[in-house]
C-alpha cells in the first residue's frame, strides 16, 4: 500500500506544527522519521494515525482520499500507531486489554484471544506471559502486545514512536526482527520515529527529516551520520573562539552515579564541575540529560554512586535542602513546573525569596518586584498574573526568581522558544553569574547554543553519557557521532 501525504498543515495558534509537508511511503519499506522535539514529527504521525485531524492537506492510500474520524477508524483502514507509552489499560489483564475494541462480540471470548495472541507471539518470537495483568509487564512486553493488537486489527502501516527507549537489548532485537519481517515478508510499511541515529541506520531503508514543521531532507539509509545531523540541525556552526575563563574549586562532583527511573536508567556518570564553569549537555530528548539535571537538583536520587556538592555528600538530599544549599533549578515546562498560573509576579517574587518575614509588606514587595522587572526586562507589572505573560517573559521571570549567590544553576532548555535578543540577554545574565563564581549546567537541543556557550560538553544517547569534551577541541563531526550513539 502506498501512503501519500500532500501539503499537510496543522497550526496551534501561531505555532506552525506542520507547515505544508509532502511525503510518500511505499509498502515493504522501513522509514525513519527524524527531527528534534518541536519539529512536528509527533503531530504529523498523530494526524496520519487518526488522533488529530489536519487543518489542511490530504492523506491518500493508493490514490484514495482518506478521512479518519478516530484512531480506531484509522486502524480499520489499515494504519496504526504504537506510542512510546503504549495506550493500554494497566489495570486490565492481557486478554482483556487485547479484546478491548477488538470486535462487536458481546461476550468476551478468551479462547479466541489466547489463540490469536499465541499465534502472534509465535510468529515474532515474543516471550509473553498471557496470564497476567498489563501493569506487571515491562515496557517492551507492553509494546509487543500493542503491536500484536494493531496487526490483528488489520494494520498495513505501522508507526512506531520512539519504541526502543526503555526496553532491553534483547527486546530491541526481537522488535527489530519483527519489524524486518513485517516489511520484507509481509509487505507492510513501517515508520520509525526515532532519535537514535544508530538505530535508524541499522533498521531503515529511507530517512526523512523534519525541522520546524517542514520536510528539510530525505536520504537513503545507511548513510553518514553527519548527513543526518546536518539535516536535523541546520548549518554546521562555526567553532567559536572562547575566551579563557578562570575556574575555581570543584563545586559539583558525580562519582559512578546511577539514577533509575521506569523508562530509563542513566549509569556510570562521572563528572566534575568547577566554579564559574558552564557545562552543556547535548543529546536528543529523552536520552538522559534531564535525569542528570534532576539528580543534581535533588528531585531524583541515585541508587548507586555519590553526588558531592562542595565536597559534601548530598546524594540523598531532598530538593528543598539542595535549594537551601545554593542549588537553583529551572525546568523547561514554565507553567507546569516553575510558575503558578493565577499568581501575580510579585507573589512569585515573594515565594522565591530564601528568607521570609511573617507578614508580607505589599508596598516594599511592589517596589522589589518593579526593580526585578526592570532588571530582567519582563514585560508586565507586579500585579500581572504569570499565565498572562508571553513565553519569553515567563522565562525571564523564572530567571528573576533564581536566588542570588548560587553555587550551581541547573537549566533545562534555557532559551527554548525565545527570540535571539531574549536568548542573548539570558546568556548575559548567566555570564554575570558565572563571573561571580556560579557553576552552570544546562541542556539544550540547539547545537549552536551548546557550542557558543559551553566550556565543556557531554553528550547523552540512550541513557549513556559520552566522554567529556572541551568545546575548543571538538567539532560537529564528533558531536554527531556521539549523538548517534557511537562513543
Amino acid at each position: 500500500m502506498q501512503i501519500e501525504l500532500r501539503n499537510i498543515r496543522k497550526y496551534f495558534g501561531p505555532v506552525k506544527a506542520n507547515d505544508g509537508i509532502d511525503l510518500t511511503f511505499e509498502g515493504g519499506k522501513i522509514y525513519g522519521l527524524l527531527g528534534e522535539n518541536g519539529a512536528g514529527k509527533s503531530t504529523l504521525m498523530k494526524i496520519l494515525s487518526g488522533y488529530q485531524p489536519q487543518d489542511a492537506g490530504e492523506i491518500l492510500f493508493d490514490g484514495q482520499l482518506q478521512n479518519f474520524s478516530s484512531p480506531a477508524d484509522a486502524l480499520e483502514k489499515g494504519i496504526g500507531m504504537l506510542y512510546q507509552d503504549p495506550l493500554d489499560v494497566p489495570a486490565f489483564s492481557v486478554k482483556d486489554n487485547y479484546l478491548l475494541g477488538r470486535d462487536r462480540r458481546f461476550v468476551l471470548n478468551y479462547q479466541v484471544a489466547s489463540q490469536e495472541l499465541e499465534e502472534m507471539t509465535g510468529r515474532f518470537n515474543f516471550q509473553l506471559d498471557l496470564q497476567t495483568t498489563i501493569d506487571n509487564l515491562s515496557l517492551g512486553e507492553r509494546q509487543q502486545l500493542e503491536l500484536a493488537r494493531l496487526l490483528v486489527g488489520g494494520a498495513q502501516v505501522l508507526i512506531l514512536d520512539e519504541p526502543t527507549t526503555g526496553i532491553s537489548t534483547e527486546q530491541k532485537e526481537v522488535l527489530f526482527g519483527s519489524m524486518r519481517k513485517l516489511a520484507r515478508e509481509e509487505g507492510k510499511t513501517l515508520i520509525l520515529v526515532s532519535h537514535k541515529l544508530e538505530e535508524v541506520q541499522e533498521l531503515c531503508d529511507h530517512a526523512m527529516v523534519l525541522q520546524k514543521g517542514k520536510l528539510v531532507g530525505e536520504n537513503e539509509v545507511p548513510c553518514s551520520n553527519e548527513t543526518l545531523v546536518e539535516m536535523m540541525f541546520g548549518r554546521i556552526p562555526e567553532r567559536s573562539e572562547r575566551p579563557d575563563a578562570k575556574f575555581g574549586d570543584t563545586v559539583l562532583e558525580l562519582v559512578d552515579v546511577q539514577v533509575p527511573t521506569y523508562r530509563l536508567t542513566i549509569k556510570n556518570i562521572n563528572l566534575s564541575i568547577q566554579k564559574g564553569e558552564i557545562f552543556g549537555l547535548a543529546g536528543l530528548e529523552g536520552s538522559g540529560q534531564r535525569l542528570l539535571l534532576q539528580a543534581c537538583a535533588g528531585l531524583l536520587h541515585p541508587d548507586h554512586g555519590k553526588i558531592m556538592l562542595s565536597g559534601q555528600d548530598v546524594s540523598g538530599w531532598s530538593y528543598h535542602r539542595m535549594q537551601n544549599a545554593g542549588v537553583g533549578y529551572a525546568a523547561a515546562g514554565r507553567l507546569e513546573e516553575g510558575l503558578v498560573a493565577g499568581l501575580t509576579l510579585e507573589e512569585h517574587v515573594e515565594l522565591a525569596k530564601p528568607k521570609h518575614s511573617f507578614f508580607i509588606n505589599r508596598k516594599e514587595l511592589y517596589k522589589e518586584t518593579e526593580t526585578k522587572i526592570e532588571q530582567f526586562q519582563v514585560v508586565g507589572s507586579p500585579v500581572t498574573k504569570a499565565d498572562e505573560l508571553s513565553g519569553g517573559n515567563q522565562q525571564r521571570l523564572l530567571f528573576a526568581l533564581l536566588r542570588d549567590n548560587l553555587k550551581l544553576i541547573l537549566l533545562e532548555h534555557p532559551t527554548r522558544g525565545l527570540d535571539v535578543r531574549s536568548a542573548n540577554w539570558i546568556w548575559e545574565q548567566l555570564y554575570l553569574r558565572r563571573e561571580a563564581g556560579t557553576a552552570i549546567i544546562f541542556m539544550s537541543a540547539d547545537l549552536d547554543e551548546l557550542f557558543e556557550r559551553s566550556d565543556r560538553i557531554a553528550v547523552f544517547s540512550g541513557g549513556v553519557m559520552s566522554r567529556i569534551l572541551e568545546t575548543k577541541e571538538t567539532s560537529v563531526d564528533e558531536i554527531g557521532h556521539l549523538i548517534g550513539g557511537q562513543a
Binding site: Y51, S70, A72, L87, D88, V89, A91, F92, L100, L108
Partner: protein, 324 residues
Amino acid sequence: MDSSPLILTLASIVLASTPLIIAVCGEIITERSGIVNLSLDGSMLMAAMMGFIVALETGSIWFGFLAGMAIGALFAFIVAFGSIRLRQSQFAIGFVLTLLGDDLSAFLGQNYTRIPGPMVTHYPIPVLKDIPIIGPIFFNQDIVVYFAFILVAITWFWLFRTQPGLRLRSAGDRPEAGFARGVNINFQRYLYTIVGGALVGLAGASYSLNIKIGWSEGITRGLGWIALAIVIFGGWSPIRGMFGALLFGATKALATYLQRTFPEVSVVAFNAIPWVLMILVLLLVGSDFTERLVTIAPKSLQKPLQRLLRISPPQALGSTFVED
C-alpha cells in the same frame, strides 16, 4: 428449625441489606466509568419518597419503583452533565445535590408521612426455600431481594466478561486507551452514571416499599454515604460489595443484639466498623503494602492473591477527559 431466631435474624439481615446491595452495584458502575456520584444519600431519600408517593397514588408498586429510578437517574445526570459538559467539580455538584435531596424530599413528602402504603409481596421460591438453613434465609424473601442478588451477578458479568464492560472500564481506568480503541468516553460516562443513578434510585424506593414501609423524613439518611464507603472497601467489585453490604447489615444486627448485654461498647464499635474499614482500605490502596505482600507470598499463590487483593480505584476516577 425454620423459625429459629438465628435463621430469622439472618433472613432479616439479607432483607435489610438489599437496598445497600443495589445502591452499591449502581455506584460501582458509575465510578468504574470515572465519575463519583456524591449525591447518593440525597438521591436515595428522594427516590424513597417519590417511590412511595407514586406507588400510593397510582396503586402500583412498579410505578413507584420506576419513579424512584427516574429520580435517581436525574440526580446522576445532573452530576454527569455538570462535570462533563459544564466542567465543574463533580464533588461540589454531588455534595449540593445530597443536601438538596434531603431537604427536597422532606418538603415534597410532607403530606405523606406515616401513611401506610403498598408493599412488595412476599414470594418464597418453592423447592429452594426448603433447603435447610440457606432456604429460609435466601429463598423465603420477595422479588426485590432476588433481584438484588441477580443484579450482583449481572453487574459482575457485565463488567468483567463482556465487551461493553471493557469499554466502560476503559473509560474509568485509562480513557486515552479507550479512545484509541474507538470508545466514546463521554458517552460511556453519561450512560453508566445514569444507569448507576437509576439503580441507586431503585435502592431508595425499595426501602420505602419493601423494608420500612411508608415515608417519613430522612428514613434512608446515611445509607448513601455508607454505600460510598462500601464501594471503596469492596474494591469496586460487585461481589465484594455485596459481601460488604451484608457485613454491614450483620454488624448492625449484631450491634442491636449485643446492645442488650453490652450497651455502650456495641454501639460505638459496630457502627464505626464500616468507616474504619474504609480508611484502612484507602490506606492500603495508597501504599504499596499489597504489592509487597504479593511478592513475599509463595509463587503459586501470587496470581490468585493479586487478583483477590486488587483494590485499586479506577485510575481516571474523578478526572475529566478531553478529546484532541
